[in-house]
């Protein structure tokens, strides 16, 4: 029963990883930008959530109503003012700039909030659980997983059923011709980053409710996000969810065998999949 339990917990944890990964995948898919600061932006969202929740006395999930639009606006401005200038055929400048951004965010958070671990209080939701077939499943992880499914379904809908998604795909396919269609790619990229950081906000708040966080942990979350994207296959949003689940399950099984193996087990599974399926399990994107 312990094993089944850890698998179930791993699946639910996968939801968080999928949310972290979805924003990364979106940005890479639309503009071939690898956002090294993605993990730190998640921690930034968690701190913003903490600040808003404490200042206004809001429940963390209600703070989402503020943090999601705030992060989206930050994303749009970040893209228009800084990141658009780094985009060219060369993929190195955006890597370097987002790496620099990562360092800046970490240090700014350290300066403002100190290095003490913080946590958002999930209240009764944090301890509530449902008994499903003899396995006790926490309501918070369950909600987190359900949210991940909704987020990915929503992104999928935006991408394939709306004018905005059409613009994303067109710009991703061919920037020049997309401009001939009247699409200003700088604006479209801004909207893509806004959407990515809206998802980052959701991931950040859930992360902050689930575990304690401090300014330095963004990089670790970034790795999990990358691994989920690569396992799932580039450009495939549902694949990203599956990637997140595989990673979460691997980590929990690892922890079941030996508590020290949790993170290691995830990396090993990632490496094995990368070795045998270099393009991930369900690749959609070529080249």
């Amino acid at each position: 029963m312990d094993w089944i339990n850890s698998i179930v917990q791993g699946v639910l944890l996968g939801g968080l990883y999928a949310m972290i990964a979805a924003g990364l995948s979106l940005i890479f898919g639309v503009m071939r930008l690898v956002n090294i600061a993605h993990g730190d932006l998640i921690i930034l969202a968690a701190y913003l959530g903490l600040t808003v929740a404490t200042a206004l006395g809001l429940y963390p999930l209600i703070a989402l109503l503020i943090i999601v639009p705030v992060m989206a606006i930050i994303g749009y401005i970040l893209q228009r003012v800084i990141l658009n200038n780094t985009l060219s055929d060369d993929i190195l400048p955006p890597l370097l700039v987002t790496f620099g951004l990562s360092v800046i965010i970490q240090n700014a958070l350290l300066e403002i909030y100190s290095a003490d671990p913080q946590k958002m209080d999930p209240g009764a939701l944090g301890t509530a659980s449902a008994n499903i077939g003899g396995i006790s499943v926490g309501l918070l992880p369950l909600l987190m997983f359900a949210t991940a499914i909704v987020v990915i379904a929503g992104l999928q809908f935006i991408f394939y059923r709306t004018a905005l998604g059409r613009a994303f795909r067109a710009v991703s396919d061919n920037q020049e011709v997309a401009q001939l269609m009247g699409l200003n790619k700088r604006h479209v990229y801004g909207l893509a980053m806004a959407l990515s950081l809206a998802v980052v906000a959701i991931a950040g708040i859930f992360l902050g409710m689930r575990t304690s966080f401090d300014p330095s942990i963004g990089g670790g979350r970034l790795i999990f996000g990358f691994e989920a994207v690569i396992i799932g296959g580039l450009g495939n949003l549902w694949g990203t969810l599956i990637g997140g689940v595989i990673l979460g399950v691997a980590q929990n099984i690892g922890a079941q065998i030996n508590p020290g193996w949790q993170v290691l087990a995830g990396h090993v599974v990632f490496l094995v999949i990368l070795a045998f399926r270099p393009r991930g399990l369900f690749p959609r994107m070529t080249g």
């Binding site: 004018a163 059409r166 613009a167 795909r169 067109a170 991703s172 396919d173 061919n174 020049e176 011709v177 997309a178 401009q179 001939l180 269609m181 009247g182 699409l183 200003n184 790619k185």
Partner: protein, 234 residues
Amino acid sequence: MSDFELCVAQLEAHYGDFQALFGIDFNVSKGEVIAVIGSNGAGKSTLMRSISGLMTNGASQVIFQGEPIGALRADEVAARGIALVPEGRQLFPSLSVEENLIIGSQIGRTGFWSLQRVHELFPILQERRHQPSTSLSGGQQQMVAIGRALMANPDLLLLDEVSLGLAPVVIKSIYEALPRIIEGGMSAVIVEQDISKALSVSTRFYCLQEGRVSLEGKSGSQTREEISRAYFGV
């Protein structure tokens, strides 16, 4: 100067150190069909890229409907009513046939052309509407590329080598659609390597050679020898 829909004056274009166009003067009146002929590398596509804003130039080097547009970005030029059917069709592979058409209209210019009208012009595109654009034949892809440009309801349509790589029978059917495309008063510039085809559908022509206009005039007014000389430079 304001009589012209499009007025290109002393246009120069560069790719890095390489100069592709040298002082091109080029005009299009309202409702006119202009042919641009010339061999490979003469600068035809560069001229199209400059007009459509894919290459930016001095603002007053390209004047459209009395306004300088030479320094505008392609999306801004498109919003003012110039649509380019790019060389090699360049459909969006991630978009279906219908989505490729719809994205042409999202610039928000209204007019004669709609999805329905494009489907009437090229019925096969309605039949194939949900297919990926990459699954179409070359000729059908060209129809999508032309339809996509029409969906923007442009005042000036630029067609860059629409017959390139297509079978003669397909080229014929695309050119047969041309009169219906421009009958609403749209101006058009047709870039074409097939001289006789280009001259037969146009009112005037420009021949480019190594980045300069080597000959211009009414279509059909020049002898074959004159055109050959302007085309090949021999």
